[in-house]
């Protein structure tokens, strides 16, 4: 009788412990998932700020201040070459696993440029997540037909790659 009672108490005790563990596991899993997405958002914002102030992209006016929200297309056309050559020794430290694109919206006949695209090394079946942010910019192209205005309109797309959450 005494032994049965003890076994019963222990059984209930272990069930409660199991419930506690399951609850704690679920809570932790949710917290980690939340932190994972928070980190992607943080990286995206940080990268957007970085791209926003890149001297490699900015429109200059001699010794005067840089033109805000402006991208120099004469630099953009050659930038992926520099990024490609120096991705390992420099730009990966700056951008990490990310994708940077310059997209022309108006006039609509413009060309789009993928400046940087470094994916995460994953196995063949999975693809990395891409958290994307955009910011609108003027695209300045001085090396163009004199009849045309040097300015067009577009946006910069900045995406950060991350491991898929499973």
């Amino acid at each position: 009788m005494h032994i049965t009672e003890t076994i019963g108490v222990l059984f209930i005790f272990f069930i409660l412990v199991a419930f506690g563990l399951i609850f704690y596991y679920k809570y932790t899993e949710q917290a980690i998932e939340q932190e994972h997405y928070q980190q992607i958002d943080d990286r995206a914002v940080k990268l957007a700020l970085e791209v926003f102030t890149l001297p490699e992209l900015a429109c200059t006016r001699g010794d005067a201040e840089l033109e805000d929200y402006c991208v120099d297309m004469a630099k953009v056309r050659h930038l992926n070459e520099t990024f490609d050559i120096h991705v390992k020794d420099y730009y990966f430290k700056l951008f990490g696993y990310a994708k940077i694109r310059v997209v022309q919206l108006y006039p609509p006949d413009g060309q789009n440029y993928t400046l940087y695209d470094k994916k995460m090394p994953l196995n063949e079946t999975s693809t990395p997540d891409l958290g994307v942010t955009w910011f609108v910019v003027a695209l300045k192209d001085e090396v163009t037909d004199m009849e045309k205005t040097p300015y067009s309109f577009g946006y910069i797309e900045v995406g950060v790659y991350s491991l898929p959450w499973e």
Binding site: E50, P55, G62, D63, A74, H78, T82, H86, Y90, V143
Partner: protein, 383 residues
């Protein structure tokens, strides 16, 4: 009688058993508390540094504006900043999880304490923008400018907000070292613009008296001497100890808001200054490639310069006098040759830091060539 003795032994044994079990349980919980404390301190330092990292990124983007960050919650902690081998490290002193930065130039005192962190970013141009320099200080670091020149006036104008003292960097101009009154600060930095501070020179006794509560490493100085040179000093007992063995060159084209000169005011010592400047020169090499192409060192223009050259080759009649091609590649100091020299000097600077001073001349020539192209020729400028 025998049974009573056994009962007595059993009771004693039970008490010993309970005591041991109690002690084990107590130790277990004590262990958890200690581990939890260490983990939460680690967590605090990690979180604080992650937040700082984001704040620094924001401050860099907000060029030329000063950010004031309330760090009163961390007022008892000491932030440290260092730079070695082109890698900046910063964190909370005595805690794990420091942050490392191999790309951005961060100029700050070696240690910081205070209730408000002040962040200021200025673009470094040589001759075009190369990167943003981030200056970091706090309300508890006071800057004393000894002597008078344009730079002092400019610094004070740029950092003092007369309407709201809390939005100012704590700085003051004094005529001589004796006039310095530190007040309640964590550390002081003396900026000598007249070269008054000399190696091994004695500190004036009235100043020594006022600095009694400060450790030697909390009293530092920079002294601007000659053209584009700076020496870093630290108080050692009653005299100044020069930290750099050779004068540190300020590689800049001068003018207002000279980021390289401001950086010397904020940098902890010569090692940190040079380490961060090296990062800027590394970036300059890459920015040069964007402007002049990878093969500009062999006088084969690419990048933006290549495009401009091809454009004027196809349209030689364009420009004010149709002389764009001349300003680009034929005139005595043309853009192409200036760009080539600038990139060559940048590569030499990467190999030997003392050669970096030669960048001033090459940047100046490139600046003049670009001005000729833009103003005299009315052509598309390089930058």
């Amino acid at each position: 009688m025998i049974s009573s003795k056994r009962a007595q032994l059993e009771v004693t044994f039970n008490w010993v058993y309970v005591l041991i079990a109690g002690a084990v349980i107590l130790l277990f919980f004590a262990g958890i508390v200690v581990k939890q404390k260490a983990a939460s301190e680690d967590n605090l330092s990690r979180m604080a540094m992650n937040i700082m990292d984001k704040i620094f990124a924001g401050a860099r983007a907000a060029e030329k504006t000063k950010d004031f960050v309330d760090i009163s919650g961390l007022a008892d902690y000491t932030f440290y900043f260092d730079c070695d081998n082109e890698v900046s490290t910063y964190g909370l002193k005595g805690y794990a999880n420091p942050k490392e930065d191999e790309v951005h130039a961060i100029f700050a005192p070696l240690e910081l304490q205070g209730t408000r962190m002040i962040l200021w970013s200025l673009p470094y141009k040589l001759p075009y923008k190369t990167m943003d320099f981030l200056f970091i200080t706090t309300d508890k670091t006071k800057y004393f400018f000894v002597g008078q020149d344009e730079f002092v006036e400019e610094f004070l104008n740029a950092t003092q907000d007369n309407t709201d003292k809390r939005k100012s960097i704590s700085a003051e101009a004094v005529i001589d070292l004796e006039d310095i009154t530190p007040g309640k600060t964590f550390q002081i930095r003396i900026v000598d613009v007249e070269g008054k501070i000399q190696p091994k020179a004695l500190l004036p006794p009235p100043l020594l008296d006022k600095l009694k509560g400060y450790g030697d490493n909390k009293v530092t100085a920079v002294s601007f001497t000659g053209t584009n040179q700076v020496n870093f000093f630290q108080k050692e007992d009653d005299h100044w100890k020069q930290l750099n063995s050779n004068p540190v060159q300020i590689v800049s084209l001068g003018g207002e808001r000279d980021a390289a000169k401001y950086a010397a005011v904020f940098a902890g010592n010569d090692k940190v200054y040079e380490c961060n400047m090296k990062k800027a020169f590394r970036r300059l090499e890459l920015v040069n490639e964007v402007y002049g192409g990878v093969e500009i060192v062999s006088l084969k223009p690419g990048g933006k310069l290549g495009e401009i050259a091809a454009y004027y080759q196809a349209h030689p009649e364009l420009g004010l006098t149709g002389q764009c091609q001349s300003y680009l590649s034929e005139a005595e100091e043309n853009v192409m040759v200036s760009m080539q020299m600038h990139q060559l000097k940048t590569k030499m600077c990467k190999l030997e830091y003392t050669k970096c001073v030669e960048l001033i001349d090459s940047a100046d020539k490139l600046k003049k060539a670009n001005t000729n192209l833009a103003e005299k020729g009315d052509c598309i400028p390089l930058y």
